[in-house]
Symmetry: C2
Subunit: 134 residues, 2 copies
């Protein structure tokens, strides 16, 4: 890659962008913000090392996840992505409690239906009884 079309990483680090730049495919020059997040949180050398340790076909997904993780930590410097995990855990507990509540309602409906069916049988029984008495 020529110096005039350096990737966002090489531009930010003020260096030449080599043809085989490890970061270039995942940090294009038109999205400098994405690199600034991972640079701030993980550091350029860590990002390069982590991507290099992965097979090429997994690097795109890994770079996306690192960018999201870094963004979440920039946005929430105390909890970062773990804050979202806590929120989702809470949401799952709430939704599971809702299911328990709804299942309770179904049990009530079941009992009401059975009660009504029983009453209908009793009614028809007495009604037949009356017929006999006529």
């Amino acid at each position: 890659m020529s110096n005039s079309s350096r990737c966002a990483a090489c531009k930010s680090l003020r260096r030449k962008c080599p043809q085989d730049c490890v970061l270039a495919p995942y940090f294009p020059s038109n999205n400098p913000q994405r690199f600034s997040w991972v640079h701030k949180i993980f550091g350029a050398s860590n990002i390069t090392k982590m991507l290099q340790q992965l097979p090429v076909e997994l690097r795109g997904e890994a770079a996306d996840c690192m960018a999201m993780e870094a963004y979440l930590r920039v946005e929430n410097p105390v909890y970062g992505s773990v804050g979202i995990i806590y929120q989702y855990q809470q949401q799952i507990i709430e939704v599971q409690n809702e299911i328990i509540k709804i299942n309770g309602e179904i049990a009530v409906y079941n009992a009401l239906l059975q009660h009504q069916q029983l009453q209908q049988h009793q009614d028809s029984f007495f009604s037949t009884d009356n017929d006999f008495n006529l």
Copy 2:
């Protein structure tokens, strides 16, 4: 802190652990693994910087979250903590679909109950009618 009781960070970085070490309260010497995760993923200097930028009362929680985040990335070098977020998002969708399904069941129960109540009213109506006819 004396050199003989250095924190996990200072021990790993082979340096003296000063009295006012920023990392010592959150990376005690008895848990070197915890520091090795954050060191590998964020780097010691980034961790120190990120903690220093926070009020002291929030640093413990932040260090816990960073340790968890780093652990998740060591365990899953492609998705890291974002993998857990994806899993939870999927789980929430599944549980919400379950609620939609159960609400559908409740609607069926409601319809059945109404049908039975209607039938009971009709039965009692005809039964009264018969009485009149007697």
